[in-house]
Symmetry: C2
Subunit: 457 residues, 2 copies
């Protein structure tokens, strides 16, 4: 990689030289030879004057190729579009792959979207408006309409000839989608299979009619699962009457998989991963504080609960020594069970029957884990304090606290999921703070009942 | 999706019928028309007798196509291979894409690997042996050698003719890799560009010579980043003398991205996600216990620390009330900072200068977070207990504990990463258990110094 990077840096220096000296011809030659992603990396290093020079040198479609590779949530995009001439920007947006253009428009003010769309040919504008109306995290929200479709009576030769025309504009030409005379999707053919056909074979004869489709409303996680399973490069998206409305390509699915993983991870940590690397510490703190303060309030309930047992603590201050051991360990167990449950919910739907079965399983797992940990802590405390009754109290409390934390860790996300919420929102810190509360309650109840046996009067 | 699933279930019932009645012809027709992934799903539902009937019906290469889509860490694979005839299994492995075959062999005993390899033609066996020798989580470990290469003087027409031959065996024919007469990689051409060429254009003239490669030793996470950035369908892998040794395809990268996300997530939760959905509760408990017991021992150190302050607690049992609030909140803050640090380390290398800068940033973030949380708890405790000195003690302890937890949450993974360990191993539960210890120390030190002011004698 380092060699690639170095070569790229040299290229960028050279390009800036051409840009500053106004050598348009050399600039275009060097710039257009680069990968689109490298072009966009270069573009994002330029200052305003340099960018304006660039707009004078590149055609809108050349800008569009590069703009396709900029992440649509890049916060600079609105300002970049604003500094371009309105007509130039609209042409560029129109020349981008329409899924990427729609993603960019998604992040703009409504008035700006309309300004751009008004400049476009009516058909193209309507197409983009159609894409904008799907939920971002569904198949409709990530699909492109820049795919290639054929009719089943077309021959291999005709198809290849037509593909050459589409190769410039379609997002992929590696799959051909085949329609019947009702314009229903009836087959798929890969370019790999197409080049093996005889010139006069028709697509209808040789296509694969075992088509895997996704519905336009399907959640993006479901779409990603199809790619994982079938290892496709693209999947057709159909509407409710089974008409082909778009395709999802594998590059967009990689983004989806990253996003979904990020969401699960953020949930587990109780912090939004939107925290950009260049956020200052104040901004970072402001993003983390809401969760912390909410959890602080929850943990204040635990404090009032302990306060309720103050007399018990005054009598046996030794009890205070083990509060954090019990709450901490139960919290750890709850986090483990939460993580397992959230991952499972990410890949499968769970019906009522499964729900109960999983709870029973998690109850047993929690009890076994709690029993082993409880025996360990019984021995540790008994030996350390020469007091096996105290050890037993701590051990029993530990066992019960872990069992409850395990149950909560799987029950809460499953409950949220069954009500249609994202289970990943039940974060690790939330579960461990909640389990502090139940653990303390369990601990002091058990300790209270056995007090006379381990406090030597 | 549900419709797809239903249709598939019907198909499976039909296929089992053909298999039971011995209707080989119909079975083959229906079975071979399915997607490879659906074939493997069907295969994995069969019992031993049915599978043995299947081996009699399908050729080894037909089995190989399907076996390519089974996850290589499926624990059933060794038994499945054992029940096949040795010659049949070896042929099947040899007909699989070589990266998948190597992944399967990776999970077998050394003697079994040798038994299979001995049955193969020498060249093929050596090729697989070569792949087996790379680290699993590097470019070499995930690449395939089933790619298509051409020389720069070949024409478009010759290339297309040759591609038709390769279409059956190559893992992708959508990129052609172009070599010069030293057999050095000098260019790449996509099939998309190739079909636009005139018959007599040579590849050397029209290829893209701005090649992005990865080194055979590159970590898989680095390879995944190249796919994210450039949106390629495959990337060439070169050795130290820049010779092409293989390619990585996008389907393997999707697996890599899933694996890496899983590892980060497991680390944060302190639980291995290998826990299969069909693991019983005992097995699940046995996988979670090692972490829990290790952390229990760490938390016992916290207990001895609190024990050390038992006199203080006996004098002011009110202090016990806030132990879990302080340790819990600091643990939550530490987990947030850990999660942010681990994600950052996953996407960028951090040098010494960056290291310090990030620590300073995280110190400020921690201090600001701590200050705000501390003021909140100062007010809450002051008002609740009508004792603002006590509130101040808790607030100060909270502020310091959060600052320290934040620092630990980013320092520890960064330190691990700079020593070459995976930072994700520093799990959330580990950080929060560690921060219990520092929080308690801070809390009692501060409380001890202010004792006379808030305990009304």
């Amino acid at each position: 990689m380092d060699e690639n990077e170095k070569r790229l840096q040299d290229r960028f220096t050279q390009l800036k030289g051409y840009l500053d000296s106004g050598d348009k011809k050399r600039f275009r030659k060097t710039y257009l030879d680069m990968h689109f992603y490298d072009q966009s990396t270069f573009y994002l290093t330029l200052n305003k004057a340099e960018r304006e020079a660039l707009y004078g040198i590149l055609e809108p479609d050349e800008m569009g190729d590069m703009f396709d590779t900029i992440e649509d949530d890049n916060p600079q995009i609105p300002a970049l579009l604003k500094e371009m001439d309105l007509e130039y920007a609209s042409k560029m947006l129109n020349d981008m792959y329409d899924d990427n253009a729609a993603d960019v428009l998604e992040h703009l003010e409504k008035v700006d979207v309309d300004r751009f769309l008004e400049q476009m040919p009516k058909n193209d504008a309507n197409n983009l408006r159609g894409l904008l109306h799907y939920d971002t995290e569904t198949a409709g929200g990530i699909m492109t309409t820049d795919y290639v479709e054929f009719h089943e009576e077309e021959t291999a030769q005709e198809a290849i000839r037509a593909l050459k025309k589409f190769a410039k504009t379609a997002e992929t030409i590696y799959y051909l989608y085949v329609l019947d005379h009702h314009d229903d999707l009836v087959g798929v053919m890969s370019l790999r299979d197409l080049i093996l056909l005889d010139d006069n074979d028709t697509l209808g004869e040789k296509m694969n009619s075992d088509i895997i489709t996704v519905n336009v409303d399907a959640e993006q996680a479901e779409v990603a699962q199809v790619f994982r399973d079938y290892e496709f490069l693209a999947v057709p998206v159909v509407d409710h009457s089974n008409k082909l409305v778009g395709i999802v390509t594998v590059d967009d699915v990689i983004e989806v998989i990253d996003d979904e993983a990020q969401q699960d991870y953020s949930g587990l940590a109780g912090v939004s991963m939107d925290e950009a690397n260049n956020d200052g510490p104040l901004k970072a703190a402001s993003k983390r504080l809401p969760w912390l303060i909410t959890l602080l309030l929850l943990s204040m309930i635990t404090a009032t609960l302990i306060n309720h047992y103050e007399n018990l603590l005054a009598e046996a201050s030794i009890l205070a020594v083990f509060i954090s051991t019990i709450t901490g360990t139960a919290g750890n167990a709850g986090t483990q069970s939460l993580a397992v449950a959230v991952r499972r919910l990410a890949v499968e739907e769970i019906d009522r029957h499964e729900f109960l079965k999983l709870l029973v399983k998690e109850f047993i797992t929690g009890f076994v884990t709690g029993l082993v940990t409880g025996i360990a802590v019984f021995l540790l405390v008994g030996i350390w304090k020469h007091n096996f009754i105290l050890g037993m109290v701590i051990g029993m409390a530990m066992c019960a606290a872990i069992t409850v934390a395990n149950l909560a860790g799987s029950f809460i996300p499953m409950l949220m999921s069954s009500f249609g919420f994202d289970p990943a929102v039940a974060s690790g810190p939330f579960i461990s703070t909640l389990s502090d509360l139940t653990s303390v309650l369990i601990y002091f109840s058990i300790a209270g009942s056995f007090l006379q046996y381990f406090v030597k009067v």
